[in-house]
């Protein structure tokens, strides 16, 4: 979805050339608008990185320094050594990785069953599952907490993993994609005695990379970034995710801003790196899911 391939934008319709040739800028005048605007969007994040390498003395004077005098890694040393950021990082990674993997596996299985297999109750079940997508999380969070408590999972990563094992969204996104694939290949393999599972694994999934990456990207983003559910399900700091750890850490280290910002960088870095390396997949996933949702 690169905007450069777009057919002539409306504003490019120029009136006929005027008599007196105006002096033209060596670049499009739109840069004068876009450059400062886009920098304004980036500025808070630049400031985040800058302040994470400042000393607390630089930050805590008024007016505070706007540019670090040198690179001071004290904040990073503190959060990696004294605080539990490495532990929280690992927790977040485990929860997100399991959620991504299981959404891909169970989403593909469920999506394939709905797309290609005829079985009793499939229509009713599909409509029922679609309907549950309209239930907001705030409605289910209190009973979900009670269920997790009864299962003895509160304060464990299990409480975070189980609700995100598979979402109806993943099932339906993959179902729609599978439906768009030609059937002939699959049926031929199937008649030749290939099991459904082998057909799915060997023929369907290799063709479904765009849809699978959409599921992976969106699952990773939502589980990594979630705060509400960890806040409810986790009390003990050894089980915190990064988001929960970061906000708690900020509450406890109110004036150690350099350390807080170092922790913040660590929290956003994986998402940021993933986004920068797979920008196309990210934007495509978000656009397609948005337009389909």
């Amino acid at each position: 979805m690169s905007a450069t391939t777009v057919e002539s934008a409306p504003a490019q319709a120029r009136p006929a050339p005027v008599a007196a040739p105006r002096r033209r800028l060596p670049f499009s005048p739109w840069h004068l608008l876009l450059m400062p605007l886009s920098l304004l969007f980036a500025l808070p994040l630049v400031w985040l990185v800058l302040s994470s390498v400042m000393t607390n003395a630089e930050i805590n004077r008024f007016p505070p320094a706007l540019w670090p005098s040198g690179i001071d890694l004290g904040g990073y040393r503190y959060v990696l050594g004294n605080a539990m950021f490495p532990r929280w990082f690992a927790n977040s990674l485990i929860v997100s990785a399991v959620a991504v993997a299981s959404n891909l596996v169970f989403g593909a299985l469920g999506g394939y069953a709905f797309a290609r297999m005829r079985f009793a109750g499939s229509r009713v079940l599909m409509v029922a599952m679609l309907a549950t997508m309209a239930i907001p999380f705030q409605l289910t969070m209190i009973p979900t907490f009670l269920i997790m408590k009864r299962l003895g999972l509160i304060d464990t990563l299990g409480a975070l993993i189980i609700p995100s094992l598979v979402t109806p969204f993943a099932v339906f996104l993959l179902r729609q994609f599978f439906l768009s694939l030609p059937r002939e290949l699959e049926e031929a393999a199937w008649i030749d005695g290939c099991s459904r599972l082998r057909v799915l694994y060997l023929i369907v999934l290799p063709l479904s990379r765009p849809a699978l990456s959409t599921v992976a990207v969106l699952t990773f983003l939502t589980t990594w970034n979630d705060l509400t559910w960890p806040l409810i399900a986790i009390n003990h700091d050894t089980q915190y995710t990064l988001q929960l750890g970061l906000t708690t850490f900020q509450g406890q280290h109110h004036t150690q801003w350099a350390a807080v910002m170092a922790g913040n960088v660590i929290t956003v870095l994986p998402v940021l790196l993933a986004f920068l390396f797979a920008q196309k997949a990210f934007i495509q996933s978000i656009t397609s899911s948005g337009l389909k949702g």
């Binding site: 450069t4 805590n60 299985l109 009973p143 609700p163 705060l227 929290t267």
Partner: protein, 319 residues
Amino acid sequence: MSSLPAPLTLSDHDRRQRTLRRRRRRETATAWAYILPAVLVVLGLSVVPFVWSLLLSFRADDLVTPSRWVGVDNYDALTQDPHFSQAVRNTLLYTGLYVPLSMALGLFLALVLNRRIKLVGLYRTLIFVPFVISATAQGVLFSFILDPEFGAANSVLHALGIGRQGFLTDPGQALAVLVAISVWSGTGFCVVIYLAALQDVPPSLLEAARLDGAGRWQLLRHVVMPTLTPVSLFLVLWQTINALQVFDLVYVTTKGGPLGSTTVIVYFIWEQAFKNFTAGYGAAAAYVLALALLVIGVASRLVRGRKPAGAVLAEGGAK
């Protein structure tokens, strides 16, 4: 399927069809095995809690001791609770500001970005990046930037000769500041959605209008904007639903304060259920919110004149 009279000789095609049919019949068990994990999670953590929440909203429950039935008392109390009505007002104000601002800015930036100039990809990336940052990280970052004493914002204002602002600590400013943070992070989403939609504006239509002598503004108003209407409707719905559910950012930055000026509905629900341990009361508030979301969803379907969600999904997926 109507059964045809059996032919005397089986052609290759017929044999294949019969094999297919026979194998299909044995499939129900396999299919159920495939969807079972999804069904279990959805049933256990969506359908059961949905019903449980409703029952809970008719009870007084502190999440520890056995609850007791109180009928519609929780709902009654909600209508008289000034904190709840304040939360509703705050949420509506937040939504009413955030949705139009993010969409207008998003549309404007998309129109500007939708042209062939250098660096356009970089601009788009910079504008979109805040969207992938978690609300927690945003909240912590802006608590720092907007810190009345140590923040860079006041430092810049100081340099400009403007006095120190309270920002998130000022009851008169806090909600507006939250809107601004959300616009910063949420506009990128509107931009990419609008940019994708702008690519679907038929070039032939633009060309025809241009030949008919339409100027820039007329092209925008009469050709581009009408083709964007469905996407705009979708964005209104999407942004509104998300705005009504705002929580993380509020929790991280203001915890509903100062003086309740940023207590939104979900914060109210969370506070009732997990801080005050009045789960039944929280569940009742959650049902009020869910009902509002449902009404908005149904209304938008009526406006769009579309079929149920499944059909919309199917249409999108068929592309």
